[in-house]
């Protein structure tokens, strides 16, 4: 099912290209929007939300035109900005309930939902304290809470792990994982931290300098080709490589695994080699690239454009 569709979407800032002629169709699910700083990720999200007017082109989300139906659409979209944007003088629960009411929820429902989502993001007693007293991690949680308080089918999250320490980052990714498991909910996650999206997102959109570099399912985009296989073993890796060589299979060891070209006579020879080397094959599958490897291949050294 289609989540986002843009046609020649372009945004210029005083002659600087923010987004250039972007034509893309993105399905529902958990989507990663990746690119270096200045790739146009935030611009893309703001255009989708109607916070910016496109210089040209059109964008549809959830099947509706962003420029024509912006207000109605924003009832069904949550947004977590990259930068700090909370009202310091309000309490966590007061702020989230306020945002819920601005999204149209009645007062009693708004407060109920605010408590629910703050509980979900891990703010318990702290929710009654003023936001000015919160740590960076707590602020990120409140930002996430306000984005989902009205239970939107689509949440646009701009750099949700920015500024978090490793523990906070891991917890935030856990929350996003839980959110992505919600039926009928889609997430668009903008980030330049590539490890964040591996294992979380099932669709990848790569931008650089305001231009689209790739848009495809994560599995598809990360698979190298169908010929190369990856094997992970428990045992003596050099001995396993030698056993493979004796059977005419050229292995390319890399850290804790070996990569081979798929044997023409089938995979049986691999298990025979493992038996000879007294190893256990723990994983055998087609080779994939990490997003980082993909990114380094796709993105030239000198990025440009707007944020």
């Amino acid at each position: 099912m289609e989540l986002i569709r843009t046609q020649a979407l372009t945004k210029h800032y005083d002659g600087v290209v923010g987004l250039a002629d972007l034509t893309v169709t993105i399905p529902t699910g958990t989507i990663a929007l990746v690119g270096p700083n200045g790739a146009g990720k935030s611009t893309f999200l703001r255009l989708l939300l109607g916070l910016l007017e496109p210089t040209s082109g059109v964008a549809h989300i959830l099947g509706e035109d962003v420029t024509q139906r912006g207000v109605a659409l924003r009832e069904r979209v949550g947004y977590m900005p990259e930068h700090d944007c909370l009202i310091p003088s309000m309490t966590g629960v007061g702020f989230v309930a306020y945002m819920a009411r601005l999204s149209g929820l009645p007062k009693s429902q708004a407060f109920g939902r605010a408590h629910d989502v703050l509980q979900f993001v891990g703010l318990r007693e702290e929710r009654y304290r003023k936001i000015s007293e919160y740590s960076v991690g707590m602020r990120q949680r409140v930002k996430l809470a306000q984005a989902i308080v009205h239970d939107p089918p689509l949440a646009l999250l701009d750099e949700p792990t920015a500024g978090l320490d490793p523990t906070g980052r891991s917890e935030m990714l856990g929350l996003l994982k839980a959110l992505s498991g919600t039926k009928d909910r889609s997430l668009v996650l903008s980030t330049h931290l590539l490890p964040d999206v591996e294992g979380l997102c099932d669709y990848l959109v790569v931008l650089n300098g305001g231009r689209l570099l790739a848009s495809a399912p994560t599995k598809e985009i990360l698979s190298v080709d169908s010929v190369e296989l990856v094997i992970r073993i428990k045992g003596d890796l050099p001995r396993f490589v030698a056993a493979l060589a004796r059977r005419g299979v050229v292995a390319r060891p890399a850290r804790h695994e070996v990569r081979i070209d798929r044997p023409s006579g089938g995979e049986r020879v691999l298990f025979e080699a493992a038996g000879d080397a007294e190893c256990q094959i723990r994983y055998l599958g087609p080779a994939t690239r990490s997003i980082e490897e993909l990114f380094l291949q796709m993105v030239p050294a000198a990025p440009g454009g707007a944020t």
């Binding site: 924003r74 947004y79 909370l86 601005l102």
Partner: protein
Amino acid sequence: MTISAPRYTISRLDREPRWKRVRVIVFEGLMRRLAALNIVLIVLGALIVGVEVVLFTTPAFVALMSFGGPVGLSDFAVPFESTPYLLLATLLTASAGASSIAGDVADRSITLYLSRPITTGDYLVGKGSAVGLVLAIFFLIPGFAACLFAYIVGNVTVGLAVTAIGAFVVSGLLLVLFFTTLALFLSSLTRRPIFAGAAIFGVLVSAEVLAQLVRGVTSSAQALYLSPIEDLLAVAQSLFGVTPSIGAGSAAGVVLGISVVGSVVTYLRVRQVEVVG
């Protein structure tokens, strides 16, 4: 209030109409201003109320002291001819209105406002109404109370009291409209509320000083049109039956014109606000 467990399915939530969302902005803005321990606001409010009580009750004292002597509508115009009153009005506007938009730009919460299902116009109406209500509390209620007080203790007829209340309401609303528009406009130009406050005060006082200087040089009362305070004064004087120095209709036109242009420019300005990290 009960706290339910988090749900992991999209729920069907009720939605209120847009005007109720605007009302939420108004209420929150009003409460934030009234609840904030802004010592300047409190002191100014107390000063204004004090000055108003003394000035507005003048007709009542006139009535009492003259043993039934006549009290006219013009007796109620005293506060609008008072320089301290208008100066305090300017200071209160600067204090209450400076942070309306500048504060949201400073803490970047404007991004979240505009990402909710409201329009830029809704946002401005909400913010403006909050400021306007704060000003109205100080400018309309005491006038209304003073007229009532004069009626109760003096020999002011019902008709005169009602006419005076009407004049207070019209001139007060015009004052609130103009000052609110000016506050929003200047607040939208900066992300520092203190600069916006200084600009509100500076613009009004500078215009007044300029108008008086030009009037002194040219000996023409027409120069007073340059000052919004003089324009507001002329309208109020006219409503209270005092002959103003300049045409009340033209003065009202100037004030309304500035308000309309200011509102449009503020709208366009907020549409252009781009909050970046």
